[in-house]
């Protein structure tokens, strides 16, 4: 029977002593989905994943794979395979033996296991590497062996615990795309852990943002980015400007926030007494004269305090009247403001929709 979900986590809690590393987490992953769990260091990601793999046991709750409860099923009997953060390749075996290991554990004959391992290595672009020692591989090649070793078993679910953490930046960018493509061609369900929001945003179909053992929000990368449900998600996913103030007036979802300096900004959301306001840098419009921003409810005057050039991810810091911290905006690379320098006066503005307000 085909099941509509590959993985169901139901109210899972894991305590170490009094500390709840994973606190009442529930989610489901659909077949073929690339699901990421994104959170800061120590928030319980690895603990959650180790419970799915079978190396830790939940204090309470249920873990189901294709509808079957995994409670009490040992790690070596679960249809789940894991790519470890350290990769954990078997150094005492050749590349081919690493990939064939899982098959021989299942009782596949040696010759057939070798043959299938060989074909799998070919599919991940490691044709002819079967005889190599794993120590004689580059970082990216080791990565592919670790994934091939799982995929050859055709598991229901592949778990990946920050597998790109040890790679240098260039290779990491490359492997992100490669992983996504691999997942697509094999059509296997991936659950991917990371603390790097760009990894999660680029690769995932859906992302769960985790903080202190709890899920803050689950959604598509765009949902998380454009409609964060909590201040934590707003500040953790993507670059953002963040201001603290108090709610001045609210009606119908529109809200104005008074900053400590007395300046008032208009946004969308809900707040109690204290309010946190978030605006993405790319939502901040820039102009040389204030007339060009005439229709925006939030308009301020400032002066460029720093140009942070980083290619397509370049930004400007603008000291703005009424704001304690400089406003961050995307550096315009074409048009009249393209060559803007430190010290230049500039007008900034943004729509009320672009500013998310949360209770502080």
């Amino acid at each position: 029977m085909a099941h509509s979900t590959d993985l169901d986590i139901v109210n899972v809690t894991k305590r170490f002593g009094a500390h709840a590393a994973v606190d009442d987490v529930s989610f489901s992953v659909a077949p073929g989905e690339f699901f990421s769990i994104l959170g800061p260091s120590g928030c319980g990601k690895t603990t959650l994943m180790r419970m799915i793999a079978g190396f830790e046991h939940p204090t309470s709750g249920d873990i189901r794979i294709r509808g079957k409860s995994m409670i009490g099923v040992p790690a070596n009997k679960r249809p789940v395979n894991m790519v470890f953060q350290s990769l954990a390749l078997f150094p005492m075996m050749s590349v081919g033996e690493n990939v064939a290991y899982g098959l021989t554990c299942r009782g596949v004959s040696r010759a057939e296991a070798e043959e299938r391992a060989h074909r799998m290595l070919e599919r991940v672009g490691l044709k002819g590497f079967g005889e190599r020692r794993v120590t004689a591989l580059s970082g990216g090649q080791r990565q592919r062996v670790a994934i091939a070793r799982c995929l050859v078993l055709e598991p229901t679910l592949v778990l990946l615990d920050e597998p790109l953490g040890a790679l240098d930046l260039k290779l990491r960018e490359h492997m992100k795309i490669e992983l996504k493509q691999l997942q697509g061609t094999f059509n296997t369900t991936f659950v991917y852990i990371t603390h790097d929001q760009s990894e999660a945003l680029v690769m995932s179909d859906r992302i769960a943002v985790m903080n202190q053992g709890k899920f803050e929000q689950v959604g598509s990368p765009r949902e998380l980015y454009h409609n964060p449900a909590t201040p934590f998600v707003a500040s953790f996913v993507g670059e953002t400007n963040r201001w603290q103030g108090e709610a001045a007036s609210a009606s119908n979802g529109a809200i104005s926030v008074r900053l400590p300096s007395g300046a008032v900004v208009q946004g969308q959301g809900r707040a109690g007494q204290g309010a946190l306001a978030f605006v993405r840098p790319e939502a901040v419009a820039l102009a040389q004269d204030s007339g060009a921003l005439g229709n925006l409810p939030n308009r301020f005057e400032g002066r460029v305090s720093a140009v942070l050039f980083d290619g397509a991810a370049s930004s400007l810091l603008i000291d703005t009247v009424g704001f304690e911290q400089p406003v961050r905006a995307v550096l315009p690379q074409v048009g009249p403001l393209a060559g803007i320098e430190v010290g230049a006066p500039v007008h900034v503005g943004w729509t009320a929709d672009a500013m998310k307000v949360f209770a502080a």
Partner: protein, 289 residues
């Protein structure tokens, strides 16, 4: 790479004590023994070069039988020690944490604070006819007369395994400690049973430690003297006893020297064989020891 003379001199000075030590204590006596072993007594106080001492070994069944028995028993003791030490080392290296780990290692070390002789005498007190175990068996009614547990092969093996245990546990625990926990978990995760993980991941990883421990224990056992003599009595029949007898009782130093060389040859041959069979090199093995 070329060295300046000053550097070369410094290096020589640094190495000098080691070279002297090796030369004086190991090479020199062995050269002496080698020469001695090839001298035959042709008349009182007259010696000539010959292989008679070695021929004597092959023609006298007692000698080569004792030799073969020593080799066989030592291999058996080494194997038993390995089987016993492996789970202990596995526990110390992978399960025990912090103070428990230190305590366990200390516990293994403790018997070595007393001399080998005293340790062996301790075993005698336990095992002899009027000893603790015999008494205990009688008092619980499992035996109705004193039981002699000494002076048999079992007692010799027991004493030798006991003496070798520590030297097996330390290199084993060392080797097992360096095994990354995630590698073991990956072994299970990919479907391996306990046995598969042990056989294909843990043991291959620990191989240098296993070989190192086996070499040390084998050498110690082959060359042991007090344990087989005291616990085996007349039945001990250890080759070191023959060497002792030639040197001390019979005063036939050339014959004793020949036996000594044969024993050296035996341990070297078996160590070499062990290394070949397990595919280990002496270098990686020494690193573990």
């Amino acid at each position: 790479m070329t060295m300046r003379p000053a550097q070369r001199l410094a290096l020589f000075l640094l190495l000098a004590p080691a070279i002297l030590w090796l030369g004086l204590l190991i090479v020199l006596p062995h050269v002496e023994i080698l020469i001695l072993s090839f001298s035959e007594r042709v008349a009182p106080r007259v010696y000539a070069f010959g292989v008679g001492n070695y021929l004597e070994f092959f023609t006298e069944p007692l000698y080569w039988r004792t030799f073969a028995r020593t080799a066989f028993m030592s291999i058996l003791v080494t194997a038993l020690t390995l089987v016993l030490a492996f789970p202990i080392a596995l526990y110390i290296a992978r399960v025990a944490q912090g103070r428990l780990k230190a305590m366990l290692l200390l516990l293994c070390l403790l018997p070595f604070w007393v001399s080998e002789l005293v340790r062996t005498l301790g075993w005698m007190m336990l095992l002899r006819e009027t000893g603790v175990i015999s008494y205990a068996l009688r008092s619980v009614g499992l035996a109705n007369q004193p039981v002699e547990l000494l002076y048999n092969d079992g007692a010799v093996i027991l004493g030798l395994v006991y003496g070798g245990l520590l030297f097996m546990i330390v290199p084993l625990a060392n080797a097992l400690e360096s095994l990354e926990p995630a590698v073991v978990e990956a072994g299970y995760d990919l479907g391996g049973s306990r046995w598969t993980v042990l056989r294909r991941i843990v043991i291959p990883h620990a191989m240098p430690g296993i070989v190192a421990g086996c070499i040390i224990v084998f050498m110690l056992t082959v060359g042991n003297f007090a344990t087989p003599v005291l616990l085996g009595g007349k039945n001990g029949l250890w080759f070191t006893e023959q060497i002792y007898a030639q040197f001390i009782t019979r005063f036939n130093w050339p014959q004793g020297a020949a036996f000594g060389m044969l024993l050296l040859l035996l341990s070297s041959a078996i160590v070499w064989l062990g290394l070949r069979l397990t595919g280990q090199s002496l270098g990686t093995t020494l690193k573990q020891a």
